[in-house]
């Protein structure tokens, strides 16, 4: 017997992972939630049939979406995380003692429960006293907040399904409004490689570029995401992601990471020509 998880990356490309057993499957109010145990990647979570994280490579995504903005603005006290039901972002954020408040707006309570049960190494930040979790649509949560946050991390699913609203111009505008005068928004920014992903990536960049005075894109390598080449958006009201980053200051915090370091931080903003071109075309 062979049991394979196959995810369609394009009409003609699949990623398949050999599964040992399925640990969980349920249709929540918002999406289908599955957890599998695999030989190569450990346990992994899929939402609506799309890979969200595996135990083997989730550290790359979570470190990059968290430590990049934190190194630019280490005096951050108030953070809003949108999405992030798996808790990986929280695990990284609570490493900073200077942070006073972490608000989380996650639409699907069941994702959190499932991750706490099956992926405890990722979902380990929820119990921190600074974390306040709100089970509601991020679009709705953000409307009521004005100039409150130093950092907003948008850890969304893809721009179809429940995460669709988190790729709209009105959402980015509302994030702008909810940030303090030197605030930063970082988001999961899709991939530039396959055509359909690239189209979503360009749309997102255009909308962020139109909403913030400064909008840059950085990259990381995440083996289980389509093409493995993944982008993040860095949008801010004032601070530049490379020029305003102080490596000594971040290093002095002594935070242990497996992927992120301050040299890689700088390097991640240097993008391949074809990606630069795509971004320039929509700016």
């Amino acid at each position: 017997m062979e049991f394979w998880y196959s995810e369609k990356h394009t009409e003609n490309v699949y990623l398949s992972i050999k599964v040992d057993k399925q640990l969980f499957s349920k249709e929540s109010r918002f999406q289908r939630i599955d957890v599998f145990e695999s030989l190569e990647f450990g346990k992994f979570l899929a939402l609506d049939g799309y890979m969200m994280l595996t135990e083997k490579d989730e550290f790359i995504y979570h470190e990059m979406i968290t430590h990049v903005p934190m190194a630019v603005k280490p005096d951050t006290t108030d953070v809003l995380v949108i999405g992030a039901g798996d808790g990986g972002v929280l695990r990284e954020l609570i490493k900073y003692p200077t942070i006073k408040r972490i608000d989380v707006s996650e639409i699907d309570e069941e994702v959190v429960a499932v991750c706490k049960e099956f992926l405890p190494n990722t979902a380990c930040g929820f119990e921190d006293k600074r974390v306040n979790i709100y089970y509601q649509d991020g679009m709705k949560f953000i409307r009521r907040h004005i100039e409150e946050y130093d950092l907003i991390i948008v850890d969304s699913t893809d721009p179809f399904g429940p995460g669709e609203g988190l790729f709209t111009k009105e959402f980015y505008g509302n994030c702008f409004k909810a940030l303090k005068e030197d605030g930063i928004m970082v988001n999961q920014h899709e991939s530039p490689f396959y055509e359909e992903d690239a189209a979503a990536m360009k749309r997102a960049h255009k909308r962020i570029f139109d909403s913030f005075p400064l909008s840059k894109v950085y990259q990381a390598f995440i083996p289980t995401y389509p093409s493995g080449h993944w982008l993040f958006g860095f949008a801010s009201k004032k601070l530049h992601p490379v020029h305003d980053m102080n490596p000594q200051k971040w290093e002095a915090l002594g935070i242990k990471t497996r992927y992120y370091n301050t040299n890689l931080h700088k390097g991640s903003f240097y993008l391949p020509n074809y990606v630069e071109e795509m971004l320039e075309n929509v700016e």
Binding site: D137, M139, R143, G165, K169, E170, F171, G173, N174, K177
Partner: protein, 485 residues
């Protein structure tokens, strides 16, 4: 009455059966189930083209239904509480036309609110009827026209006891309802037929938390746009009739102008939608009401916008309000409705139903999700943050009593000349002049032009009101009747 099985959909079932028969088509349409037009088939899909067929044995004929169309119409009649329900494939306009052509002949009078859809007055051009208008009243704070006051109908009937019919818009585009039941009783007491433009009211038949429907109120005829809130395909519609109507004569009237090649795509969409509404309408519209209410509360919470609802009800010109309608006044944001309409489309990729000078209407249906609603609310909040302006002085709405000098038909066919609008006072108008807002005709064919009317057109135009109707789209000139002074 025998209760029919509403789980059935006879036209749909006949089409499904036909697919299994492998009949060789030597009849029209010439695309022959799509095989003869690959481009079209690729675009619309094989399933769609395979049922785009002509009337044939077992499929009945819309002009003279005795088989599956008749069965489907009977099912629809029962679902809507009507004596008969005609499947209409030429749009609700054709249903409105049929109500008018059935009830009125040349010279007959009909009592109606001024804010009717153009299709009604157009139908008078066909039959020669003469309109007697009622001032629908205007809520000047919101800039919308309302329903008919019961007392105004009483007065109009007293002054025109010879009128043959009363026409009611229920609900209006904005969701405003008149006192339909009492107006119907009054009209019937005076031997007048009651016809209802229920284009925006299909859902009234399937949920108890909504205003009374035309058939429940005892009206004689209603034109129902199934394709609006009912979910059928664009251009498909129903004409409902009550007990006072001779259904065979009505069929003859419909056949005067309706196509003889009734589309089975449209008819099956009516059949399937009726089944769905009957079986699931309550839950469907509970959801729609919930979504609209939620959106209203959130939008009012943003500030400066006013999403109005039942608080407008005054038991007269606003007898009831359709809470599925999300109508929003934008004047508090200092933006015209049409500006918000454009910003939503151009900046936020959201298409809403319409925007006028002071309001927008977002159409909420069962096809919407929480997510769509959040996008709309989020965008409105952003538009306020980014584009808010000081409130400008609103257009002063003024109802000008029309002076009907001759039937719209006579004026339509009369010899006309184009004249500078400023010198047309005293002439008889040969065309329509509509202003949005408030969506009321300022002039219709056959009406006397006055200085007051000319001043109003110039004023409304300056204020940014959209003026439509005249041949000259710049509205510098108007067509008037030769020798009509």
């Amino acid at each position: 009455m025998i209760l029919l099985d509403q789980n059935r959909a006879p036209i749909y079932e006949a089409l499904e059966e036909l697919k299994t028969l492998h009949i060789v088509p030597f009849d029209v349409p010439g695309h022959k189930r799509g095989k003869g037009n690959k481009d079209l088939t690729d675009f619309l899909g094989q399933k769609c083209l395979s049922v785009d067929i002509n009337s044939m044995k077992h499929l009945d004929n819309i002009c003279h239904p005795t088989g599956v169309i008749k069965e489907a119409e009977d099912l629809a009649a029962q679902a809507f509480g009507a004596k008969y329900a005609y499947f209409m494939v030429n749009g609700t306009t054709s249903a409105v036309q049929s109500m008018v052509l059935y009830s009125l002949k040349r010279g007959d009078k009909i009592i109606m609110p001024r804010n009717v859809h153009r299709s009604v007055i157009n139908a008078f051009v066909l039959c020669g009827a003469i309109p007697v208008y009622i001032n629908p009243q205007i809520n000047s704070e919101l800039g919308i026209s309302l329903g008919m006051s019961y007392n105004d109908v009483v007065k109009a009937i007293e002054q025109n006891p010879d009128a043959k019919a009363v026409f009611v818009n229920n609900p209006t585009y904005y969701g405003i309802c008149s006192n339909l039941k009492q107006i119907t009783q009054l009209a019937h007491k005076h031997n007048m037929l009651v016809m209802v433009d229920e284009a925006h009211g299909t859902h009234f038949y399937f949920n108890d938390n909504l205003p009374i429907s035309a058939m429940a109120a005892g009206a004689d005829m209603a034109s129902v746009s199934m394709h609006k809130s009912g979910g059928s395909l664009t251009q498909s519609s129903l004409l409902l009739c009550g007990d006072n109507i001779n259904v065979d004569y009505m069929r003859q009237v419909i056949n005067l102008t309706q196509t003889t090649s009734g589309s089975y795509l449209l008819m099956s969409s009516l059949d399937i939608s009726r089944r769905r509404l009957f079986l699931h309408g309550k839950e469907i519209f509970d959801t729609v009401i919930e979504l609209s209410q939620y959106a209203r509360e959130e939008i009012n919470d943003i500030g400066d916008y006013y999403a109005y609802s039942k608080e407008l009800v005054n038991n007269d010109t606003v007898f009831d309000f359709d809470v599925t309608k999300l109508s929003i006044n934008t004047s508090g944001v200092g933006l015209a409705g049409i500006e918000v309409f454009d910003l939503l489309r151009d900046e936020y990729d959201i298409q809403i139903e319409f925007g006028d000078l002071e309001n927008i209407l977002a159409y909420i249906s069962v096809g919407d999700s929480d997510k769509n609603i959040e996008q709309l609310i989020g965008s409105l909040s952003e538009i306020r943050r980014r584009y808010k302006k000081p409130r400008t002085s609103a257009l002063k709405h003024e109802y000008i009593n029309p002076v009907v000098e001759m039937s719209p038909q006579e004026a339509f066919y009369a010899k006309k000349v184009s004249m500078d609008i400023k010198s047309t006072a005293g002439h008889i108008c040969g065309e329509f002049v509509m202003a949005y807002p408030p969506g009321i005709p300022i002039l219709a064919p056959g009406e006397r032009i006055t200085e007051q009317i000319i001043d109003y057109i110039v004023y409304a135009k300056e204020k940014g009101s959209l003026i439509t109707g005249p041949e000259d789209m710049t509205i510098k000139n108007l067509n008037v009747l030769i020798g009509g002074r």
